[in-house]
Amino acid sequence: MMEKPVSVTEGLRYPRPKLAGIPKYMNVLWRSFNKKNIMLTLGIIFATFIILVAIFAPVLEPYDPTKMDLALKFIPPSAAHIFGTDNMGRDVLSRIIEGSRISLSTAFMVVIFSACIGTLVGMISGFWGGKVDMIFMRIVDVLLAFPTIIFALAISTVLGTGAINLVIAICCIQWTSYARVSRGEAILLKNAEYIEAAKAIGNNSLQIMFKYFLPNIVSKILILASLNIGSIILYCASLSFLGLGAQPPSPDWGAMISDGKEYMRYAPWMAIFPGLAIAASALTFNMLGDGVRDLLDPRMRDSVKTE
């Protein structure tokens, strides 16, 4: 029997950093359709649908979402107004479609900003260690002492209401979970041989963080972000329900339910349908998150959802 020829240099090469760029993920996502990852498949289909609705909102709305006509108020769901009309005679369906833009974009902004800030802080903290690490981690400890909603409420009293302030308020707490994850990964990677090699060939700290750490942390961060979107949608909705989000007349799902609360005896559809929209999008992104996690890290199945 012939032995398989062994390359002389094989065992000597440094393990290469796994480069996990976006195109590779796209490829993996496509392959998931063949596998039995139902959550991911459904998640992708529905998420695409919801995002398309938000993008093409002006084309899809049957009526002008902000046009008031008191002659048409409180019309129950019917053929002309599928989801009925509200106390100002505005079409609820049109408002839900228009509201998807604000509600989804605030949620995405929160996730993107907190992921970027958290990853950066975590990497710096884990890489440098020592005092920098201690200071950052104490800040994280203090912020985690507040339930997200409470801290966001406190921040909102300072900044005032509005969609942008809502994003800032939620980001103030949310970045901490990304920071913890990327710090943990950075500490694990810090002593890897290829990082030593990278140092030896003269990379500076910044280069090491962005060229060698980041590609290895990305997949963990992506999992966390995709699991996070669903709950962020709910946080945004809760805060705008409390009147801290986008201000009237711009339609926002949480605020629509808050308006509907006043009329739930006579016009329950005013609160029911925007709630369904929130639930459907949160469910979609939760399925997507579960699917992405199963795909990228099967060991993390059903593990703790971060706050």
Binding site: A154, M264, G275, V304
Partner: protein, 315 residues
């Protein structure tokens, strides 16, 4: 073990101090004049004039430098003196003392409901892995964790209070009035705990010592409750700790909807009326409570998990 607890206590004290500091500066750097805010919250927009502003500044000692105000405030917090509410014109601590038990009752009921539901469901789901009941439980927990709690609250009000007229819409009068708020508040935690217990049980049931326990002829009940469940509990405690934070945050919204006279409703009211000492009091008491709950969770965890017990919690 003792070393670990002491270490945790020191961190908690530090966190509490920072929380107090952060709360003070967050509320006191509010854009706009504090005196102006007081007048608006007590007498309304029209009462603002140079004289009233001057009077309020003298009355509430707002002329002192911020740092002096901070140190005085910190001393007062330590002694439990949280200032006087602008709106109620009573000591904040007195109002909090009346409101806090209501929130505790609500939170504790929600906690009990979710434990009572999630533990059996988690176990059943894990024991029937990939059978219909497991799929049902997975799907329903995913569904429930996607519903906004305030929307479920409204649906329950529409069904049980408006249509069926069996439960009161809001307020706090007798046992029937706690059902809807407590059930709504428990949903998020129930879903999360069920999911976690299911996967944790599945992990444990695949371990060798479970096979050994079965092989030496133990009955199913002994294997499940004596061996599997005990080992599946630690991750559950972490989830419960996190979920208590959700319950506290959720209480703010739920109390607001059901007009439940607790801390959460008070917080929203004070934010709307810009009642600064009241906001500070509410945020402080919530953050303190949460920090203490987390401390208890960590200590419980360390009692259960020997790895922490012996390492002194360095990891």
């Amino acid at each position: 073990m003792i070393k670990y607890i002491i270490k945790r206590m020191i961190i908690v004290f530090f966190v509490l101090w920072m929380v107090a500091t952060l709360t003070f500066f967050t509320v006191h750097v509010t854009p706009g004049d504090t005196a102006n805010a007081i007048i608006v919250s007590v007498y309304g927009e029209d009462a603002v004039s140079p004289e009233t502003l001057e009077n309020v500044r003298t009355k509430f000692d707002l002329k002192r430098p911020v740092f002096v105000q901070y140190t005085d405030w910190l001393k007062n917090v330590v002694t439990g003196e949280l200032g006087t509410s602008y709106k109620y014109n009573k000591p904040v601590i007195d109002i909090l003392k009346i409101r806090l038990p209501n929130t505790l009752i609500l939170g504790f009921s929600a906690f009990l409901i979710s434990i009572v539901i999630s533990i059996p469901f988690g176990i059943i789901s894990a024991l029937n892995h990939n059978r219909p009941i497991d799929h049902f439980s997975r799907f329903s927990t995913l569904l429930l964790s996607s519903f906004p709690s305030f929307w479920i609250a409204l649906l329950l009000i529409i069904i049980f209070s408006i249509q069926l007229k069996v439960l009161p819409v809001s307020g706090m009068a007798g046992f029937s009035s706690i059902i809807l708020p407590a059930v709504t508040l428990s949903i998020g935690m129930t879903a999360a705990t069920t999911r976690m217990l299911r996967s944790s049980m599945l992990d444990v049931l695949g371990q060798d010592y479970i096979t050994v326990a079965r092989a030496k002829g133990l009955e199913d009940n002994q294997v499940i409750f004596g061996h599997a469940l005990r080992n599946a509990i630690p991750p559950i405690i972490t989830v419960i700790g996190l979920q208590i934070g959700h319950i506290i945050g959720g209480a703010v919204i739920i109390e607001n909807i059901f007009a439940w006279p607790g801390i959460g409703g008070l917080l929203i009211d004070s934010i709307n009326t810009k009642d600064l000492p009241m906001i500070e009091g509410c945020v402080l008491i919530i953050a303190f409570g949460y920090a203490i709950v987390n401390l208890i969770v960590d200590i419980t965890y360390s009692c259960i998990d020997p790895r922490i017990k012996y390492s002194g919690g360095d990891n």
